[in-house]
């Protein structure tokens, strides 16, 4: 097992290298002159002399591969560089923003499971009845409603009409009160998908022979579902869960913007608009790492849910 994890971690290196080359080249060949964009103020572009000086100082006049090489050597020595825009160390900015995103993602996941697990089980047990139809209807709405619209509706209902939560913002340090509405918004969207998956996966499992055998042995139905059904039904769900969590950790630009939540999604998008290369590269590397690590965790969790993985040495 340990070997497997280590091997997967080693594969992280070429993945990240590829991500960095791709992102560096895509952003380089995107139209727009970084020196000019970075030197544009509220009254327009600074005078050409200043733009030219800035270009030279930042090394934008060098060939693309030289710029990449400089950046890579710097990163290999453990320095992600400084934001061209704010002068802040990139690592510091990521840690700052990721903290906010991480907490929001965690709470969103919690809400998602809170809705999806009981909803999915209920729908599976009541297959093809009106309860199942209602659950199908709800998840259809959950996936189709755009985030930004749902965000405003949440604010209108829970913050303005019922006055239970603040409209948006981060408070002094992102207190729970400020987190609930954005987390509900993100959570319901993930819940919709998870709920359907839990239902179908549970139905598959409940059709298996060993479940029939268990029933024949007279084991009470709730134990069959909880112990034999759910555990096995969770294998595909865990994969989905990992993916959803990965997306949540990337930060949702829309929800972050509407709720004024200072997360990593906005950091990434604004750095792309600003052509803030070190920041773009830093956040992308970080996000790619998160994805790889989460996938790894998902795979490792299979081993615990499915004993066949533990004993089969050739599975990877």
């Amino acid at each position: 097992m340990l070997n497997y994890v280590l091997r997967r971690l080693v594969f992280l290196i070429p993945t990240l290298l590829l991500v960095s080359v791709l992102s560096f080249s895509i952003i380089h060949f995107a139209p727009g002159d970084p020196a000019e964009i970075l030197m544009t103020g509220p009254d327009g572009i600074a005078d050409p002399v200043a733009v030219e000086e800035f270009r030279e100082r930042m090394g934008f006049d060098r060939p693309f591969y030289v710029q990449y090489g400089i950046w890579l050597t710097q990163v290999l020595s453990g320095d992600l560089g400084y934001s061209y825009m704010t002068g802040q160390p990139v690592g510091e900015a990521i840690v700052q923003k990721f903290g906010a995103t991480f907490r929001l993602a965690l709470l969103s996941m919690f809400f998602a499971l809170l809705i999806a697990i009981p909803g999915g089980i209920l729908a599976a047990l009541a297959r093809d009845t009106w309860k199942d139809d209602i659950s199908r209807f709800i998840s259809l709405i959950g996936v189709s409603v755009p985030n930004f619209w749902q965000s405003y509706i949440m604010i209108l209902v829970f913050a303005l009409m019922l006055d239970m939560f603040p409209v948006g913002g981060y408070g002094e340090s992102g207190e729970l009160m400020y987190m609930i509405l954005p987390a509900l918004t993100l959570g319901t969207a993930s819940a919709a998908v998870l709920m359907r998956l839990i239902r179908s996966s549970l139905l598959d499992v409940l059709d298996q022979d060993y479940i029939r055998a268990a029933r024949a042995r007279g084991i009470p139905e709730h134990i069959i579902i909880a112990k034999h059904g759910l555990k096995n039904a969770f294998i595909p769900v865990i994969t989905m869960l990992g993916l959803s969590f990965g997306y949540l950790l990337n930060g949702s630009v829309v929800v972050e913007t509407v709720f004024a939540w200072p997360g990593i999604g906005n950091l990434m998008v604004s750095s792309i608009y600003d052509r803030d290369y070190p920041m773009i590269q830093g956040t992308l590397l970080f996000v790619a790492t998160i994805f790889v690590v989460i996938n790894l965790l998902v795979d490792v969790s299979y081993a615990y849910l499915d004993p066949r993985w533990r004993y089969d040495e050739d599975h990877d």
Partner: protein, 524 residues
């Protein structure tokens, strides 16, 4: 049940404990923001953008944020009518063509008690002139700055430069405390409010400066939240999360007004939306065609349809009428006139010869694309309305919205017909910058349009080097008149900004240059 319930319970506990640990406490819901904590008067503000790292006014555009927060002041500034007024200075004198003498107030102290004197002024300006400073080129005209005595400073310029005093209103030359080493983390200014705490991109808190040289602030503590979404800012003031919401969307103004507990202030700012015209491209090189486009645009309709009537006022010239350098009263506006537009186009050889309802130029349909960018939400609908207006007289026209970096690349390559932009026209209150950049041959924006007029070049040079305001005015008026006739840029509307105020907020003033926001006069 054994496994699943245990897992779920574990998960719940982990989520809650991490969140509690990270946030410290549950936090309380301040549904009424301007609550009185004992006798403390607290004011909540929602603004658009704030500093993300450094709080040093000398860095990039951070000066705007820390001045808006009432921490820093400049030697001179602009009042609500865009009149230049002394702030930390008491006045200035022109010694000779290149020497300006500024006298300072003698009763000003920094927040730590250090007196503000000529040494601090020299320090504050010299550090911006340092070539390492990203914006130093703006102050490169200064040859030397030195202290004459404790309260007098002289500025020597490399050549006669009339806007010298105006450049001292830019918040980048906020007067900072030379005794403080880490201005990025510990702001120390002279303003009516003192720095208290800061959370990057989200929140800045200031407290009343009891030693302020002017009238003391009427509130004790101010929390400024940075909320980039305009709709959320409107909802925040509606839900009484904040007392003041900066720049609320035009679409929300009528609704907020109807609520009863919200007042709105709606005022023109120093920002103009206009279209660059590519005069390097046929037939746009013909002045009659450019004038025809100007007649074909119904500015009134743009403002009413795209900006809901609250977001702007139809433009005449480049400068809003409330700006002292504006020559709008002397210009003949391009009133919407389809007949005149068609007449001018016909003279330029553009007319509907095939009878299919569209105009042709040299046998081909006459097309004009209006490009604009997404960062300013008002521009896209405005471009769309104008494209429809052009289509209605038979010009095939589309509105194309790009990301701003991509659009400026197109502009530099001359790959456009018309391009709708919005820029601040005079952040330092002087017309020289805008006019020079846009209409003097060879400068950035004159290159974009391909505009070059030797008369305009000469007038601009005279006005820039003559310190006499009346002489400058005369030449700037001539430039505005000429540009109005030549139409290298078509001015569409002047931005109007709306600020939402919770009833009970008193003394708020909207400054047209948007550099001053939180003042000592605001009370709750």
């Amino acid at each position: 049940m054994k496994y699943s319930s245990k897992y779920i319970l574990c998960f719940v506990l982990i989520v809650l404990s991490i969140n509690l640990a990270l946030s410290g406490c549950l936090g309380n819901n301040d549904s009424s923001s301007s609550q009185q904590n004992g006798d403390e008067k607290l004011l909540h503000i929602a603004q658009t953008f704030g500093p993300s790292h450094s709080l040093d006014p000398g860095y990039d555009w951070v000066g705007w944020y820390v001045r808006q927060a009432g921490i820093y002041e400049t030697l001179f500034s602009y009042d609500e009518d865009m009149e230049l007024v002394p702030e930390l200075a008491t006045g200035y004198q022109v010694i000779d063509e290149v020497t300006w003498e500024v006298t300072l107030r003698d009763d000003v102290k920094f927040h730590d008690g250090t007196p503000m004197d000529s040494e601090a002024v020299v320090y504050s300006i010299e550090r911006v002139m340092d070539p390492e400073n990203k914006r130093s080129s703006q102050y490169r005209f200064i040859e030397e700055i030195y202290a004459v005595d404790e309260n007098t400073v002289r500025i020597v310029t490399d050549e006669a430069f009339a806007p010298t005093i105006a450049t001292l209103t830019d918040p980048i030359v906020s007067i900072v405390n030379p005794k403080v080493d880490d201005l990025a983390g510990e702001p120390s200014g002279t303003g009516p409010f003192m720095f208290s705490s800061f959370n990057p991109d989200t929140r800045l808190e200031v407290t009343k400066n009891h030693e302020y040289w002017g009238e003391l602030a009427k509130v004790d503590r101010v929390v400024i939240e940075y909320v980039s979404d305009p709709m959320t800012r409107a909802l925040k003031v509606e839900g009484r999360d904040v007392d003041i919401a900066d720049s609320v969307p035009a679409s929300e103004v009528s609704r907020l007004n109807s609520l009863g507990h919200i007042d709105t202030v709606n005022k023109e700012t120093m920002r103009t939306a206009f279209m660059y015209v590519n005069t390097n491209k046929e037939p746009l090189d013909d002045v009659r065609v450019r004038q025809a486009i100007s007649y074909a645009i119904d500015r009134e309709q743009v403002v009413n349809a795209a900006l809901e009537g609250f977001g702007g006022t139809p433009a005449i010239g480049m400068f809003p009428s409330n700006f002292m350098w504006s020559f709008n009263e002397g210009l003949e506006p391009y009133h919407h006139d389809k007949e005149k537009a068609l007449q001018l186009l016909k003279e330029a050889g553009i007319e509907d010869r095939t009878g299919d309802g569209t105009l042709e130029y040299e046998g081909e349909p006459f097309t004009l694309d209006i490009k604009t960018y997404s960062a300013r939400p008002e521009l896209r609908p405005s471009a769309e309305v104008m494209a429809i207006q052009l289509s209605s007289i038979g010009i095939e026209s589309r509105a194309i919205t790009l990301e701003s970096g991509a659009l400026s690349a197109d502009m530099n390559n001359g790959d456009y017909d018309l391009a709708l932009y919005a820029w601040g026209i005079a952040p330092t209150g002087d017309p020289d910058y805008f006019l020079t950049q846009h209409f003097e041959s060879g400068n950035t924006y004159a290159e974009w349009t391909g505009y070059s007029n030797p008369d305009v070049d000469e007038w601009l040079s005279i006005a820039r080097t003559n310190p006499d305001e009346d002489v400058r005015m005369e030449y700037y008026n001539k430039v505005q008149q000429q540009v109005h006739e030549d139409c290298p840029e078509l001015f569409v509307f002047y931005y109007k900004k709306t600020v939402g105020l919770s009833s009970g907020v008193d003394g708020f003033i909207l400054y047209p240059n948007e550099i001053t926001f939180l003042t000592n006069r605001i009370a709750v």
